[in-house]
């Protein structure tokens, strides 16, 4: 038998706005493509750390294969956002930068850059997105079926340690000071 009805007064979008934790950490990558798994692995280990510590309540961890337009909706109601991905060309062990909304080449594709996601946010909400940063963890090998490389593993450990520091000081002004120019 069907359970009895209950009625929500708020729509999905309204509830997204009122319920979301202040900080969104959004990691991308394909776990089956070597060091492209850095993003999802980062999130997995951060989740384990959160469980051990139990004091990062206002943080949401979200993984996806690649950034797409609807991630702009995931940014709604946030005070701060951190995009995490494997980087192929940046410095090792990682690069931490401030992001600004931008319409770049990824804009018309199925896989957006973090800057393009911020731009979509701006377009659909007619407002500035929350302060957003990118943590690009340096990877070396991205072939299908490869395991995480030892270099990437070391970079991941360093990136996690840095993120623990970020989580101790969850404000854009402090993160700005720590960001690479």
């Amino acid at each position: 038998m069907e359970p009895s009805e209950t009625k929500h007064s708020l729509s999905l979008w309204e509830r997204v706005r009122v319920r979301v934790p202040g900080l969104l950490i959004l990691a991308c990558g394909n776990p089956s493509r070597g060091d492209d798994s850095l993003g999802p692995l980062f999130l997995e280990r951060l989740a384990e750390l959160r469980e051990q510590r139990g004091d990062w309540d206002d943080v949401e961890l979200l993984a996806d294969f690649q950034l797409q337009i609807e991630h702009a909706v995931d940014l709604e109601g946030r005070a701060l956002a951190l995009f995490v991905d494997a980087g192929m060309s940046g410095p090792a062990p990682f690069q931490f930068t401030r992001l600004q909304p931008a319409r770049d080449i990824s804009y018309t594709s199925h896989a957006l850059s973090p800057a393009a996601v911020l731009h979509v946010y701006q377009q659909i909400n007619h407002a500035l997105p929350p302060p957003a940063f990118q943590l690009a963890i340096r990877g070396e090998r991205f072939e299908l079926g490869e395991p995480l490389s030892s270099v990437a593993e070391a970079n991941l450990v360093a990136a996690l340690a840095f993120t623990c520091r970020l989580l101790e000081r969850r404000d854009a002004a402090t993160w700005d000071q720590w960001a690479f120019v």
């Binding site: 069907e2 394909n30 979200l62 690649q66 337009i69 909706v73 080449i105 594709s109 659909i124 079926g145």
Partner: protein, 504 residues
Amino acid sequence: MSALETAAHPERLCRVAIDPLSRVEGHGKVTLLVDRDHHIRQARLHIVEFRGFEKFIQGRPYWEVPVVVQRLCGICPVSHHLAAAKAVDQLVGAKEITPTAEKIRRLMHYGQTLQSHAVHFFHLASPDFLFDFDDPTAHRNIGGVMADFPDIARQGVRLRKYGQEVIRVTAGKRIHGSGTVPGGVNKALTLQERNYLLTDLDLMTQWARNILKLIKQAYALNPGYFTHFATIRSNYLSLVRDDRALDLYHGGLRARNDKGEILFDHLDYRRYAQVLREQVKSWSYMKFPFIHSLGPDKGWYRVGPLARVNNCDFIATPLAEEERREFMALGEGQPVHLTLAYHWARMIELLHAAEAIQELLLDPDIFGDELVVRGEMTREGIGVIEAPRGTLFHHYRINEDGLIEKANLIVSTTNNNQAMNESIRQVAEHYLDGKELTEPLLNQIEVAVRAYDPCLSCATHALGQMPLHVELVEESTGEMVDCLVRDADGTVRNEAFPLPLGAG
């Protein structure tokens, strides 16, 4: 098959390449061979098929497959998840899964169809409908749509998000979900989850109806263009339900010829190899499937929304059925062959997906507790599903230890390989031939490819931003005499005479 597939003397012709790259879906490019009078002599779409994955899953235990195959594609992981799950059902002897399991899977699948069709139309294809071909490339993209039609762009994002929420709720999480397990699913819905998904559904349905109105308006404004652009006559292949209704999750294989006559019907998809063959061509990495009884020249077919709407006898949800009837009137008793009608059919399916989600959410079976059935193990399993882009085949054989011994995946883009080639040749012949090649003309090739929404559509939609080289070669010496380059950032320059275009 078009005469433009292979030129008589390719060495004497100028080569034009539209060569995009993409992250996970494979690579694709279009090459044109053009003579000095600008006549197109050869047009080919090359797609690098993603075959490595079949090797990758060999040796893995069968129960891992529905989860692992989601990593095949970042665009429609749920299609691969469900096609693999249906194959694994057969491996574990689950001849019929429980009503709860089937309805949860259907819900997941319709959620995926809704989000995939939404992102394709609103964010990749809508510029083709809303802006002219000669609109500046910097504007003729989703950025321009957001600036000029902000409501449409916003609806696209929200529809996409809604579909993702359906997937998250049914699969447990948004990606790498393990919603299906061998022989069923691992969870039913809770009342709270059901109510959460119902809340905004009327809005999604209304937006789907609105976009159909927009498409019909665009068609009415320029019927000649929609009727002729990239249009080809073809056979059509899809699943249909037992009562011949549109069904995206399960059914028998049905094929029609270009006149609408049934070639085969209700064929058990596990017998697909009896009716379909794959042809190899020296110039392409991707195979060319065809209906065996018709042979490779006449047996190629189309799959996807256009094929499904053409193939079914009706749609079981009322609003989408009303739209289907209006759509089919275009064909005057025959299938609708208009390639741009893929978008129209896609939006009919989007509306159907919204209606089907509502029906499923109101069905008490989704709260059931009978989730899994098992039977006698078998060594071979074949799962077929109508993915957003078309019919998707997953075929596995396992050894006595339950490890994958052999895998064969035929993806939608492969099924449409010959059809996409035929469409670009039609465009080349009717819109490009004899003209000096310009960017807007080359963009028309991309519009044709994009109608099919192949997995590389993300790349082909990077209008004005794909690396593009146009070389004019002296026939007698083979020496390049001119070269037009479009860089990834959209800058167009002449490499032989390096002044910015328009500077002289």
